[in-house]
Amino acid sequence: MLYGTLLVVSLYYLLPLYVMVVTSLKGMPEIRLGNIFSPPVEVTLEPWVKAWAEACTGINCDGLSRGFWNSVQILIPSVILSIAVASVNGYALANWKFRGSELFFTILIIGAFIPYQTMLYPLVIILREIGLMGKLGGLVLVHTVFGMPILTLLFRNYFAAIPEELFKAARIDGAGFWGIYFRIMLPMSLPIFVVAIILQVTGIWNDFLFGVIYTKPDTYPMTVQLNNIVNSVQGIKEYNVNMAATLLTGLVPLIIYFVSGKLFVRGIAAGAVKG
Protein backbone atom coordinates (compact mmCIF):
# COMPACT_ATOMS: atom_id res chain seq x y z
CA MET A 1 0.00 0.00 0.00
CA LEU A 2 2.75 2.39 1.05
CA TYR A 3 4.85 1.50 -1.97
CA GLY A 4 1.81 1.75 -4.21
CA THR A 5 1.18 5.29 -3.04
CA LEU A 6 4.84 6.18 -3.40
CA LEU A 7 4.83 4.75 -6.90
CA VAL A 8 1.80 6.79 -7.93
CA VAL A 9 3.20 9.95 -6.42
CA SER A 10 6.60 9.49 -8.07
CA LEU A 11 4.94 8.80 -11.41
CA TYR A 12 2.94 11.99 -11.00
CA TYR A 13 6.12 13.97 -10.46
CA LEU A 14 8.30 12.12 -12.94
CA LEU A 15 5.91 12.19 -15.87
CA PRO A 16 6.38 15.90 -16.73
CA LEU A 17 10.13 15.42 -16.43
CA TYR A 18 9.93 12.47 -18.79
CA VAL A 19 7.94 14.49 -21.29
CA MET A 20 10.48 17.30 -21.09
CA VAL A 21 13.44 15.00 -21.64
CA VAL A 22 11.92 13.14 -24.61
CA THR A 23 10.61 16.33 -26.23
CA SER A 24 14.03 17.97 -25.92
CA LEU A 25 15.53 15.05 -27.84
CA LYS A 26 13.06 15.19 -30.73
CA GLY A 27 13.15 17.23 -33.88
CA MET A 28 10.30 19.69 -34.63
CA PRO A 29 8.61 17.47 -37.32
CA GLU A 30 8.33 14.65 -34.82
CA ILE A 31 6.85 16.98 -32.17
CA ARG A 32 4.19 18.15 -34.61
CA LEU A 33 2.87 14.58 -34.77
CA GLY A 34 1.52 15.23 -31.24
CA ASN A 35 2.58 12.02 -29.50
CA ILE A 36 4.08 13.71 -26.49
CA PHE A 37 4.63 10.51 -24.49
CA SER A 38 6.31 8.49 -27.20
CA PRO A 39 10.09 8.26 -27.09
CA PRO A 40 12.01 10.01 -29.89
CA VAL A 41 12.31 7.98 -33.09
CA GLU A 42 15.36 9.92 -34.10
CA VAL A 43 17.42 11.20 -31.17
CA THR A 44 18.90 14.61 -31.79
CA LEU A 45 20.97 16.88 -29.56
CA GLU A 46 20.32 19.80 -31.84
CA PRO A 47 17.77 21.51 -29.51
CA TRP A 48 20.27 21.38 -26.58
CA VAL A 49 22.98 22.98 -28.66
CA LYS A 50 20.57 25.58 -29.90
CA ALA A 51 19.27 26.35 -26.42
CA TRP A 52 22.78 26.74 -25.03
CA ALA A 53 24.43 28.67 -27.83
CA GLU A 54 22.03 29.98 -30.47
CA ALA A 55 18.56 30.72 -29.10
CA CYS A 56 17.56 34.35 -29.45
CA THR A 57 16.40 36.69 -26.72
CA GLY A 58 15.64 40.06 -28.14
CA ILE A 59 18.58 41.03 -30.34
CA ASN A 60 21.09 38.67 -28.72
CA CYS A 61 21.34 35.25 -30.31
CA ASP A 62 23.97 33.57 -28.19
CA GLY A 63 21.62 31.24 -26.29
CA LEU A 64 21.46 30.56 -22.58
CA SER A 65 25.22 30.45 -22.13
CA ARG A 66 25.41 34.17 -21.36
CA GLY A 67 22.69 33.89 -18.75
CA PHE A 68 24.42 30.88 -17.27
CA TRP A 69 27.69 32.73 -16.75
CA ASN A 70 25.82 35.76 -15.40
CA SER A 71 24.04 33.50 -12.92
CA VAL A 72 27.33 31.94 -11.86
CA GLN A 73 28.82 35.37 -11.33
CA ILE A 74 25.83 36.36 -9.23
CA LEU A 75 25.58 33.06 -7.37
CA ILE A 76 29.11 32.55 -6.08
CA PRO A 77 29.69 35.92 -4.41
CA SER A 78 26.10 36.04 -3.11
CA VAL A 79 26.32 32.62 -1.49
CA ILE A 80 29.73 33.23 0.05
CA LEU A 81 28.93 36.73 1.25
CA SER A 82 25.49 35.97 2.68
CA ILE A 83 26.65 32.86 4.51
CA ALA A 84 29.77 34.53 5.86
CA VAL A 85 27.83 37.47 7.23
CA ALA A 86 24.86 35.46 8.48
CA SER A 87 26.98 32.88 10.29
CA VAL A 88 28.87 35.59 12.16
CA ASN A 89 25.53 37.28 12.90
CA GLY A 90 24.07 34.07 14.23
CA TYR A 91 27.18 33.35 16.27
CA ALA A 92 27.15 36.82 17.83
CA LEU A 93 23.43 36.63 18.58
CA ALA A 94 23.73 33.18 20.14
CA ASN A 95 26.91 33.61 22.15
CA TRP A 96 27.79 37.27 22.57
CA LYS A 97 24.49 38.63 23.77
CA PHE A 98 24.56 42.38 24.01
CA ARG A 99 22.03 44.91 25.22
CA GLY A 100 19.15 44.77 22.79
CA SER A 101 20.40 41.69 20.96
CA GLU A 102 17.03 40.00 21.33
CA LEU A 103 15.29 43.05 19.91
CA PHE A 104 17.77 43.16 17.06
CA PHE A 105 17.08 39.52 16.30
CA THR A 106 13.31 40.04 16.40
CA ILE A 107 13.54 42.92 13.95
CA LEU A 108 15.72 40.84 11.66
CA ILE A 109 13.21 37.98 11.72
CA ILE A 110 10.31 40.32 11.00
CA GLY A 111 12.28 41.22 7.90
CA ALA A 112 11.62 37.73 6.63
CA PHE A 113 7.87 38.32 6.69
CA ILE A 114 7.71 41.64 4.89
CA PRO A 115 6.53 41.05 1.30
CA TYR A 116 9.32 41.61 -1.19
CA GLN A 117 7.04 43.65 -3.36
CA THR A 118 7.01 46.55 -0.91
CA MET A 119 10.78 46.78 -1.08
CA LEU A 120 11.27 46.54 -4.81
CA TYR A 121 11.01 50.19 -5.69
CA PRO A 122 12.95 51.59 -2.71
CA LEU A 123 15.72 49.16 -3.63
CA VAL A 124 15.75 50.44 -7.20
CA ILE A 125 16.40 53.93 -5.83
CA ILE A 126 19.07 52.73 -3.38
CA LEU A 127 20.88 50.78 -6.08
CA ARG A 128 20.69 53.75 -8.45
CA GLU A 129 22.13 56.08 -5.81
CA ILE A 130 25.07 53.79 -5.04
CA GLY A 131 25.63 53.15 -8.74
CA LEU A 132 24.91 49.43 -8.74
CA MET A 133 21.61 49.45 -10.65
CA GLY A 134 21.74 47.03 -13.56
CA LYS A 135 25.09 45.63 -12.46
CA LEU A 136 25.80 42.11 -11.20
CA GLY A 137 27.19 43.61 -7.98
CA GLY A 138 23.81 45.17 -7.26
CA LEU A 139 22.05 41.84 -7.53
CA VAL A 140 24.69 40.25 -5.28
CA LEU A 141 23.96 42.91 -2.68
CA VAL A 142 20.20 42.34 -2.94
CA HIS A 143 20.55 38.58 -2.55
CA THR A 144 22.90 38.98 0.42
CA VAL A 145 20.50 41.29 2.20
CA PHE A 146 17.41 39.20 1.53
CA GLY A 147 19.13 36.00 2.61
CA MET A 148 20.03 37.54 5.94
CA PRO A 149 16.92 36.92 8.11
CA ILE A 150 16.43 33.25 7.39
CA LEU A 151 20.15 32.43 7.38
CA THR A 152 20.78 34.30 10.61
CA LEU A 153 17.90 32.42 12.21
CA LEU A 154 19.33 29.16 10.94
CA PHE A 155 22.83 29.84 12.27
CA ARG A 156 21.70 31.38 15.53
CA ASN A 157 19.59 28.36 16.39
CA TYR A 158 22.38 25.99 15.46
CA PHE A 159 24.99 27.83 17.52
CA ALA A 160 22.56 28.19 20.42
CA ALA A 161 22.26 24.40 20.50
CA ILE A 162 26.02 23.98 20.93
CA PRO A 163 26.61 23.62 24.69
CA GLU A 164 27.36 26.98 26.23
CA GLU A 165 30.07 25.44 28.34
CA LEU A 166 32.24 24.95 25.25
CA PHE A 167 32.06 28.64 24.62
CA LYS A 168 32.87 29.41 28.24
CA ALA A 169 35.79 26.99 28.23
CA ALA A 170 37.18 28.67 25.12
CA ARG A 171 36.91 32.07 26.77
CA ILE A 172 38.80 30.83 29.79
CA ASP A 173 41.39 29.44 27.39
CA GLY A 174 41.83 32.96 26.14
CA ALA A 175 40.17 32.74 22.72
CA GLY A 176 38.48 35.92 21.53
CA PHE A 177 35.44 36.56 19.34
CA TRP A 178 37.10 35.41 16.10
CA GLY A 179 39.22 32.77 17.77
CA ILE A 180 36.14 31.02 19.11
CA TYR A 181 34.29 31.46 15.83
CA PHE A 182 36.99 30.01 13.61
CA ARG A 183 38.58 27.44 15.91
CA ILE A 184 35.63 26.16 17.96
CA MET A 185 32.33 26.97 16.26
CA LEU A 186 33.17 26.58 12.55
CA PRO A 187 34.65 23.09 12.77
CA MET A 188 31.53 21.92 14.63
CA SER A 189 29.07 23.41 12.17
CA LEU A 190 29.70 21.75 8.81
CA PRO A 191 26.13 20.37 8.51
CA ILE A 192 24.49 23.74 8.98
CA PHE A 193 26.84 25.33 6.45
CA VAL A 194 25.80 22.68 3.93
CA VAL A 195 22.14 23.45 4.61
CA ALA A 196 22.79 27.16 4.19
CA ILE A 197 24.69 26.60 0.94
CA ILE A 198 21.86 24.50 -0.49
CA LEU A 199 19.22 27.02 0.52
CA GLN A 200 21.17 29.89 -0.95
CA VAL A 201 22.30 28.18 -4.15
CA THR A 202 18.81 27.01 -5.06
CA GLY A 203 17.16 30.21 -3.88
CA ILE A 204 19.50 32.53 -5.75
CA TRP A 205 19.74 30.36 -8.85
CA ASN A 206 15.95 30.12 -9.14
CA ASP A 207 15.39 33.79 -8.42
CA PHE A 208 13.50 35.55 -11.17
CA LEU A 209 11.94 38.61 -9.57
CA PHE A 210 15.13 40.37 -8.46
CA GLY A 211 16.93 39.27 -11.57
CA VAL A 212 14.39 40.80 -13.92
CA ILE A 213 14.18 44.05 -11.95
CA TYR A 214 17.74 44.86 -10.96
CA THR A 215 19.61 43.80 -14.08
CA LYS A 216 19.50 44.68 -17.77
CA PRO A 217 19.61 42.41 -20.84
CA ASP A 218 23.40 42.17 -20.74
CA THR A 219 23.42 41.00 -17.17
CA TYR A 220 20.19 38.95 -17.07
CA PRO A 221 20.56 35.81 -14.99
CA MET A 222 19.73 32.46 -16.58
CA THR A 223 16.14 32.31 -15.29
CA VAL A 224 15.21 35.61 -16.89
CA GLN A 225 16.80 34.57 -20.14
CA LEU A 226 14.97 31.27 -20.04
CA ASN A 227 11.71 33.13 -19.65
CA ASN A 228 12.54 35.33 -22.60
CA ILE A 229 13.34 32.34 -24.78
CA VAL A 230 10.28 30.33 -23.80
CA ASN A 231 7.83 33.21 -23.85
CA SER A 232 9.07 34.62 -27.12
CA VAL A 233 5.98 35.30 -29.23
CA GLN A 234 7.71 35.72 -32.55
CA GLY A 235 8.12 32.90 -35.02
CA ILE A 236 7.31 29.30 -34.40
CA LYS A 237 7.37 27.84 -30.87
CA GLU A 238 10.33 25.47 -30.71
CA TYR A 239 9.14 23.19 -27.98
CA ASN A 240 12.24 21.03 -28.10
CA VAL A 241 14.54 24.04 -27.60
CA ASN A 242 12.33 25.34 -24.78
CA MET A 243 12.44 22.00 -23.00
CA ALA A 244 16.20 21.75 -23.37
CA ALA A 245 16.65 25.30 -22.11
CA THR A 246 14.48 24.62 -19.08
CA LEU A 247 16.36 21.43 -18.26
CA LEU A 248 19.68 23.24 -18.60
CA THR A 249 18.54 25.94 -16.19
CA GLY A 250 17.29 23.44 -13.65
CA LEU A 251 20.49 21.43 -13.76
CA VAL A 252 22.42 23.40 -11.15
CA PRO A 253 19.99 23.04 -8.22
CA LEU A 254 19.40 19.46 -9.27
CA ILE A 255 23.11 18.65 -9.05
CA ILE A 256 23.37 20.39 -5.69
CA TYR A 257 20.56 18.24 -4.32
CA PHE A 258 22.02 15.02 -5.65
CA VAL A 259 25.50 15.74 -4.34
CA SER A 260 24.57 17.01 -0.91
CA GLY A 261 21.13 15.55 -0.27
CA LYS A 262 22.38 13.30 2.48
CA LEU A 263 24.25 16.09 4.24
CA PHE A 264 21.21 18.31 3.84
CA VAL A 265 18.95 15.93 5.72
CA ARG A 266 21.60 15.40 8.38
CA GLY A 267 22.01 19.13 8.85
CA ILE A 268 18.29 19.77 9.19
CA ALA A 269 17.96 16.90 11.63
CA ALA A 270 21.01 17.98 13.64
CA GLY A 271 19.50 21.39 14.17
CA ALA A 272 16.19 19.90 15.16
CA VAL A 273 17.11 17.23 17.68
CA LYS A 274 20.05 18.80 19.44
CA GLY A 275 19.26 21.04 22.33
Binding site: P163, E165, K168, A169, R171, I172, D173, G174, R183, M188
Partner: protein, 358 residues
Protein backbone atom coordinates in the same frame (compact mmCIF):
# COMPACT_ATOMS: atom_id res chain seq x y z
CA UNK B 1 45.70 32.97 56.62
CA UNK B 2 47.13 33.87 53.24
CA UNK B 3 44.14 35.02 51.23
CA UNK B 4 44.12 33.98 47.60
CA UNK B 5 40.63 34.94 46.56
CA UNK B 6 38.74 37.78 48.13
CA UNK B 7 35.19 38.58 47.14
CA UNK B 8 33.96 41.89 48.44
CA UNK B 9 30.32 42.99 48.61
CA UNK B 10 29.47 41.18 45.42
CA UNK B 11 26.09 41.91 43.85
CA UNK B 12 24.65 40.40 40.74
CA UNK B 13 21.21 41.00 39.37
CA UNK B 14 19.48 40.11 36.15
CA UNK B 15 16.98 42.89 35.71
CA UNK B 16 14.92 42.98 38.86
CA UNK B 17 16.09 39.61 40.14
CA UNK B 18 18.97 39.72 42.61
CA UNK B 19 20.90 36.51 42.24
CA UNK B 20 23.75 37.43 44.57
CA UNK B 21 23.45 40.01 47.28
CA UNK B 22 26.29 41.67 49.15
CA UNK B 23 28.33 38.52 49.17
CA UNK B 24 31.68 38.38 50.96
CA UNK B 25 34.04 35.44 50.80
CA UNK B 26 37.72 34.90 51.49
CA UNK B 27 39.47 31.79 50.29
CA UNK B 28 42.92 30.91 51.60
CA UNK B 29 45.82 29.86 49.40
CA UNK B 30 45.70 26.12 48.81
CA UNK B 31 42.27 25.78 50.32
CA UNK B 32 39.58 23.47 48.96
CA UNK B 33 36.34 25.37 49.26
CA UNK B 34 33.03 23.79 48.34
CA UNK B 35 30.00 25.88 47.46
CA UNK B 36 27.01 23.77 48.39
CA UNK B 37 23.33 24.45 47.92
CA UNK B 38 20.21 23.29 46.19
CA UNK B 39 19.64 24.36 42.58
CA UNK B 40 18.96 28.02 42.09
CA UNK B 41 20.87 29.11 45.19
CA UNK B 42 23.42 31.07 43.17
CA UNK B 43 26.41 28.81 43.67
CA UNK B 44 27.16 28.31 39.97
CA UNK B 45 26.49 31.98 39.36
CA UNK B 46 29.08 32.88 41.98
CA UNK B 47 31.57 30.56 40.34
CA UNK B 48 30.90 32.12 36.93
CA UNK B 49 31.47 35.55 38.45
CA UNK B 50 34.81 34.45 39.86
CA UNK B 51 35.71 33.03 36.45
CA UNK B 52 34.71 36.25 34.75
CA UNK B 53 32.05 34.64 32.60
CA UNK B 54 29.37 36.85 34.12
CA UNK B 55 29.72 40.58 34.63
CA UNK B 56 29.02 41.56 38.21
CA UNK B 57 26.60 44.35 39.05
CA UNK B 58 28.55 45.65 42.01
CA UNK B 59 31.43 44.68 44.27
CA UNK B 60 34.95 43.44 43.67
CA UNK B 61 36.77 40.20 43.09
CA UNK B 62 40.45 39.89 43.97
CA UNK B 63 42.51 36.89 42.95
CA UNK B 64 46.10 36.61 44.13
CA UNK B 65 46.00 40.13 45.50
CA UNK B 66 44.96 41.60 42.14
CA UNK B 67 41.62 43.25 41.49
CA UNK B 68 40.28 41.19 38.57
CA UNK B 69 36.67 42.33 38.69
CA UNK B 70 36.77 43.51 35.08
CA UNK B 71 39.54 41.30 33.73
CA UNK B 72 39.00 38.83 30.90
CA UNK B 73 38.51 35.23 32.10
CA UNK B 74 41.85 34.22 30.59
CA UNK B 75 43.75 36.90 32.53
CA UNK B 76 42.48 35.94 35.95
CA UNK B 77 44.77 33.06 36.67
CA UNK B 78 41.92 30.58 36.85
CA UNK B 79 41.14 27.28 35.18
CA UNK B 80 37.66 25.83 35.07
CA UNK B 81 36.26 22.32 34.83
CA UNK B 82 32.67 22.12 33.66
CA UNK B 83 29.91 19.64 34.32
CA UNK B 84 29.95 18.44 30.71
CA UNK B 85 33.76 18.89 30.62
CA UNK B 86 33.31 21.01 27.51
CA UNK B 87 36.16 19.41 25.63
CA UNK B 88 36.50 20.73 22.09
CA UNK B 89 35.10 17.78 20.13
CA UNK B 90 37.02 18.38 16.92
CA UNK B 91 40.42 18.53 18.61
CA UNK B 92 42.52 15.71 19.97
CA UNK B 93 43.33 15.56 23.65
CA UNK B 94 46.62 17.22 22.83
CA UNK B 95 44.79 19.96 20.92
CA UNK B 96 42.47 20.49 23.85
CA UNK B 97 45.36 20.85 26.25
CA UNK B 98 47.36 23.19 24.06
CA UNK B 99 44.50 25.45 22.90
CA UNK B 100 44.85 27.84 25.83
CA UNK B 101 48.62 27.99 25.52
CA UNK B 102 48.41 28.72 21.79
CA UNK B 103 46.04 31.58 22.48
CA UNK B 104 48.46 32.92 25.06
CA UNK B 105 51.24 32.88 22.46
CA UNK B 106 53.41 30.33 24.22
CA UNK B 107 56.23 28.94 22.09
CA UNK B 108 55.85 25.54 20.46
CA UNK B 109 58.59 23.85 22.51
CA UNK B 110 57.11 25.11 25.74
CA UNK B 111 53.65 23.90 24.74
CA UNK B 112 54.95 20.41 24.04
CA UNK B 113 56.79 20.41 27.33
CA UNK B 114 53.84 21.62 29.39
CA UNK B 115 51.37 19.28 27.72
CA UNK B 116 53.69 16.35 28.35
CA UNK B 117 54.09 17.37 31.97
CA UNK B 118 50.35 17.72 32.57
CA UNK B 119 49.66 14.45 30.77
CA UNK B 120 52.15 12.76 33.07
CA UNK B 121 50.62 14.20 36.22
CA UNK B 122 47.16 13.12 35.14
CA UNK B 123 48.29 9.82 33.59
CA UNK B 124 46.68 10.53 30.23
CA UNK B 125 49.84 10.17 28.13
CA UNK B 126 48.48 7.29 26.00
CA UNK B 127 45.34 9.31 25.19
CA UNK B 128 46.98 12.40 23.71
CA UNK B 129 46.17 11.57 20.08
CA UNK B 130 42.56 10.60 20.73
CA UNK B 131 39.45 12.65 20.20
CA UNK B 132 37.24 13.37 23.23
CA UNK B 133 34.43 11.13 21.99
CA UNK B 134 36.77 8.13 22.25
CA UNK B 135 37.34 8.75 25.96
CA UNK B 136 35.47 7.49 29.00
CA UNK B 137 33.86 9.88 31.48
CA UNK B 138 36.75 9.65 33.88
CA UNK B 139 39.32 10.23 31.15
CA UNK B 140 37.39 13.23 29.87
CA UNK B 141 37.40 14.71 33.31
CA UNK B 142 41.13 14.30 33.57
CA UNK B 143 41.61 16.04 30.25
CA UNK B 144 39.37 18.87 31.43
CA UNK B 145 41.49 19.24 34.56
CA UNK B 146 44.60 19.03 32.39
CA UNK B 147 43.39 22.01 30.40
CA UNK B 148 43.54 24.07 33.58
CA UNK B 149 46.77 22.42 34.67
CA UNK B 150 48.85 23.33 31.60
CA UNK B 151 48.09 26.99 32.05
CA UNK B 152 49.78 27.11 35.46
CA UNK B 153 46.78 28.74 37.09
CA UNK B 154 46.56 29.55 40.77
CA UNK B 155 42.93 28.68 41.14
CA UNK B 156 40.88 25.74 39.89
CA UNK B 157 37.15 26.19 39.58
CA UNK B 158 34.93 23.12 39.37
CA UNK B 159 31.31 23.43 38.28
CA UNK B 160 29.59 20.20 39.37
CA UNK B 161 32.16 18.08 37.56
CA UNK B 162 30.81 14.76 38.79
CA UNK B 163 27.09 15.24 38.29
CA UNK B 164 27.03 13.55 34.88
CA UNK B 165 28.55 10.29 36.07
CA UNK B 166 27.15 7.17 37.62
CA UNK B 167 27.50 6.62 41.35
CA UNK B 168 30.47 4.29 41.25
CA UNK B 169 32.58 6.40 38.93
CA UNK B 170 31.65 9.47 40.92
CA UNK B 171 33.07 7.96 44.09
CA UNK B 172 36.30 7.05 42.27
CA UNK B 173 36.77 10.45 40.72
CA UNK B 174 36.01 12.17 44.00
CA UNK B 175 39.01 10.43 45.44
CA UNK B 176 41.08 11.41 42.43
CA UNK B 177 40.18 15.06 42.77
CA UNK B 178 41.07 15.00 46.43
CA UNK B 179 44.38 13.35 45.65
CA UNK B 180 45.07 15.89 42.92
CA UNK B 181 44.46 18.70 45.36
CA UNK B 182 46.90 17.16 47.80
CA UNK B 183 49.56 16.82 45.10
CA UNK B 184 49.11 20.20 43.43
CA UNK B 185 48.21 22.30 46.43
CA UNK B 186 46.27 24.80 44.29
CA UNK B 187 43.36 26.75 45.59
CA UNK B 188 40.18 25.04 44.46
CA UNK B 189 36.58 26.15 44.48
CA UNK B 190 34.12 23.40 43.84
CA UNK B 191 30.40 23.78 43.23
CA UNK B 192 28.09 20.89 43.97
CA UNK B 193 24.64 20.03 45.23
CA UNK B 194 25.86 16.70 46.55
CA UNK B 195 26.50 16.86 50.26
CA UNK B 196 28.70 13.77 50.24
CA UNK B 197 31.05 15.37 47.72
CA UNK B 198 31.07 18.50 49.82
CA UNK B 199 31.76 16.72 53.10
CA UNK B 200 34.50 14.49 51.70
CA UNK B 201 36.37 17.04 49.59
CA UNK B 202 36.15 20.32 51.40
CA UNK B 203 38.49 22.09 53.75
CA UNK B 204 35.61 24.46 54.23
CA UNK B 205 32.03 24.38 52.97
CA UNK B 206 29.95 27.41 52.13
CA UNK B 207 26.27 26.60 52.26
CA UNK B 208 24.32 28.93 50.02
CA UNK B 209 20.68 29.82 49.77
CA UNK B 210 18.98 32.62 47.86
CA UNK B 211 22.29 34.21 46.82
CA UNK B 212 23.66 34.36 50.35
CA UNK B 213 26.14 32.27 52.26
CA UNK B 214 24.34 30.85 55.28
CA UNK B 215 27.32 29.17 56.87
CA UNK B 216 30.99 28.95 55.98
CA UNK B 217 32.86 26.45 58.05
CA UNK B 218 34.67 23.13 58.16
CA UNK B 219 32.64 20.03 57.26
CA UNK B 220 32.86 18.94 60.88
CA UNK B 221 31.37 22.17 62.20
CA UNK B 222 28.72 22.25 59.49
CA UNK B 223 27.63 18.77 60.41
CA UNK B 224 27.86 19.07 64.18
CA UNK B 225 27.06 22.69 64.78
CA UNK B 226 24.84 23.90 61.90
CA UNK B 227 24.29 27.63 62.19
CA UNK B 228 20.61 27.51 61.40
CA UNK B 229 17.72 25.22 60.68
CA UNK B 230 18.22 25.28 56.88
CA UNK B 231 21.81 24.09 57.14
CA UNK B 232 20.82 21.48 59.70
CA UNK B 233 18.16 20.09 57.38
CA UNK B 234 20.28 20.34 54.24
CA UNK B 235 23.20 18.34 55.57
CA UNK B 236 22.61 14.75 56.60
CA UNK B 237 20.48 11.99 55.15
CA UNK B 238 17.92 11.10 56.35
CA UNK B 239 17.35 14.59 57.52
CA UNK B 240 17.53 15.74 61.12
CA UNK B 241 14.54 15.06 63.42
CA UNK B 242 12.93 18.11 64.92
CA UNK B 243 10.86 18.52 68.08
CA UNK B 244 8.77 21.64 68.32
CA UNK B 245 8.60 23.00 71.87
CA UNK B 246 9.65 25.66 74.33
CA UNK B 247 12.87 26.16 76.19
CA UNK B 248 13.36 27.62 79.62
CA UNK B 249 16.83 27.35 81.09
CA UNK B 250 17.97 23.83 80.28
CA UNK B 251 14.51 22.35 80.25
CA UNK B 252 12.90 21.72 76.89
CA UNK B 253 9.28 20.70 76.80
CA UNK B 254 7.30 19.54 73.81
CA UNK B 255 4.22 17.33 73.27
CA UNK B 256 6.52 14.30 73.19
CA UNK B 257 7.81 14.93 76.71
CA UNK B 258 10.10 17.10 78.81
CA UNK B 259 13.76 16.79 77.90
CA UNK B 260 16.69 18.08 79.86
CA UNK B 261 19.30 19.70 77.64
CA UNK B 262 21.87 19.91 80.43
CA UNK B 263 25.28 19.66 78.74
CA UNK B 264 24.27 21.38 75.47
CA UNK B 265 26.82 23.95 74.35
CA UNK B 266 24.86 27.13 73.80
CA UNK B 267 26.17 29.43 71.07
CA UNK B 268 25.21 32.45 73.14
CA UNK B 269 23.45 33.09 76.42
CA UNK B 270 20.47 30.76 76.40
CA UNK B 271 17.22 32.52 75.72
CA UNK B 272 13.87 31.10 76.67
CA UNK B 273 11.00 30.80 74.21
CA UNK B 274 9.70 28.80 71.27
CA UNK B 275 12.47 26.45 70.23
CA UNK B 276 13.16 23.61 67.83
CA UNK B 277 15.22 20.72 69.08
CA UNK B 278 17.02 18.79 66.35
CA UNK B 279 18.70 15.43 66.65
CA UNK B 280 20.31 13.50 63.79
CA UNK B 281 19.05 9.96 63.10
CA UNK B 282 22.55 8.62 63.66
CA UNK B 283 22.69 10.19 67.13
CA UNK B 284 19.58 8.43 68.31
CA UNK B 285 20.40 5.54 70.61
CA UNK B 286 18.56 2.26 70.99
CA UNK B 287 18.71 -0.81 73.22
CA UNK B 288 20.94 -0.68 76.29
CA UNK B 289 22.35 2.70 75.28
CA UNK B 290 18.84 4.14 75.12
CA UNK B 291 18.13 2.94 78.64
CA UNK B 292 21.02 4.97 80.03
CA UNK B 293 20.60 7.98 77.76
CA UNK B 294 19.90 11.44 79.08
CA UNK B 295 16.59 11.66 77.24
CA UNK B 296 14.47 8.55 76.74
CA UNK B 297 11.58 8.19 74.32
CA UNK B 298 9.16 5.26 74.09
CA UNK B 299 8.52 4.58 70.42
CA UNK B 300 6.89 2.14 68.01
CA UNK B 301 8.54 1.09 64.75
CA UNK B 302 6.56 2.30 61.79
CA UNK B 303 8.73 1.67 58.72
CA UNK B 304 12.01 -0.14 58.13
CA UNK B 305 14.52 0.64 55.35
CA UNK B 306 17.40 -1.82 55.36
CA UNK B 307 20.49 -0.42 53.60
CA UNK B 308 22.77 -3.34 54.33
CA UNK B 309 25.46 -1.46 56.22
CA UNK B 310 22.82 0.05 58.47
CA UNK B 311 19.06 0.14 58.75
CA UNK B 312 16.91 3.24 58.76
CA UNK B 313 13.89 3.04 60.98
CA UNK B 314 10.97 5.42 61.15
CA UNK B 315 9.40 5.39 64.58
CA UNK B 316 6.30 6.91 65.98
CA UNK B 317 6.93 8.94 69.12
CA UNK B 318 3.65 10.22 70.53
CA UNK B 319 2.30 11.15 67.13
CA UNK B 320 5.56 12.37 65.59
CA UNK B 321 7.78 10.54 63.13
CA UNK B 322 11.38 10.14 64.22
CA UNK B 323 14.05 8.59 62.01
CA UNK B 324 16.78 6.56 63.61
CA UNK B 325 19.82 4.92 62.05
CA UNK B 326 20.42 1.46 63.43
CA UNK B 327 23.17 -1.05 62.99
CA UNK B 328 22.37 -3.17 59.92
CA UNK B 329 22.49 -6.47 61.77
CA UNK B 330 19.62 -5.80 64.19
CA UNK B 331 16.49 -7.69 63.09
CA UNK B 332 13.54 -5.38 63.40
CA UNK B 333 9.91 -5.46 62.25
CA UNK B 334 7.30 -2.72 61.88
CA UNK B 335 4.97 -2.61 64.87
CA UNK B 336 7.63 -3.51 67.42
CA UNK B 337 8.25 -1.35 70.45
CA UNK B 338 11.65 0.32 70.29
CA UNK B 339 12.79 2.53 73.17
CA UNK B 340 14.87 5.42 71.85
CA UNK B 341 17.14 7.87 73.59
CA UNK B 342 19.70 10.60 72.98
CA UNK B 343 22.17 12.74 74.83
CA UNK B 344 21.91 16.51 75.02
CA UNK B 345 25.51 17.15 73.88
CA UNK B 346 24.53 16.01 70.36
CA UNK B 347 21.28 17.92 69.96
CA UNK B 348 20.88 21.18 68.08
CA UNK B 349 18.65 23.95 69.37
CA UNK B 350 17.25 26.57 67.05
CA UNK B 351 15.11 29.57 67.84
CA UNK B 352 11.74 29.05 66.24
CA UNK B 353 11.42 32.66 65.17
CA UNK B 354 14.85 33.36 63.70
CA UNK B 355 15.70 29.69 62.96
CA UNK B 356 19.23 30.45 64.15
CA UNK B 357 21.26 28.24 66.42
CA UNK B 358 20.91 28.88 70.13
Amino acid sequence: MDTNIAIKNLDLSFGAINVLQDLNLDVAKGEFLVLLGSSGCGKSTLLNCIAGLLDVTDGQIHIGGRNVTWEEPSNRGIGMVFQSYALYPQMTVEGNLSFGLKNAGVSREQITEKVAQAAKTLQIEPLLKRKPRALSGGQRQRVAIGRALVRDVEVFLFDEPLSNLDAKLRAELRVEIKQLHQTLGNTMIYVTHDQIEAMTLADRIAIMKGGKILQLDTPNQIYNRPANKYVAEFIGSPTMNFFDGTLSGTAFSCPQGDFSVEGYEFAATPSAGATLLGIRPEHILTGDQAATAQVRLPATVDLVEPLGSDTLVRCDVAGQSVWARLDGQTPIEPGADLPLGFNANLVNLFSKTSENRL
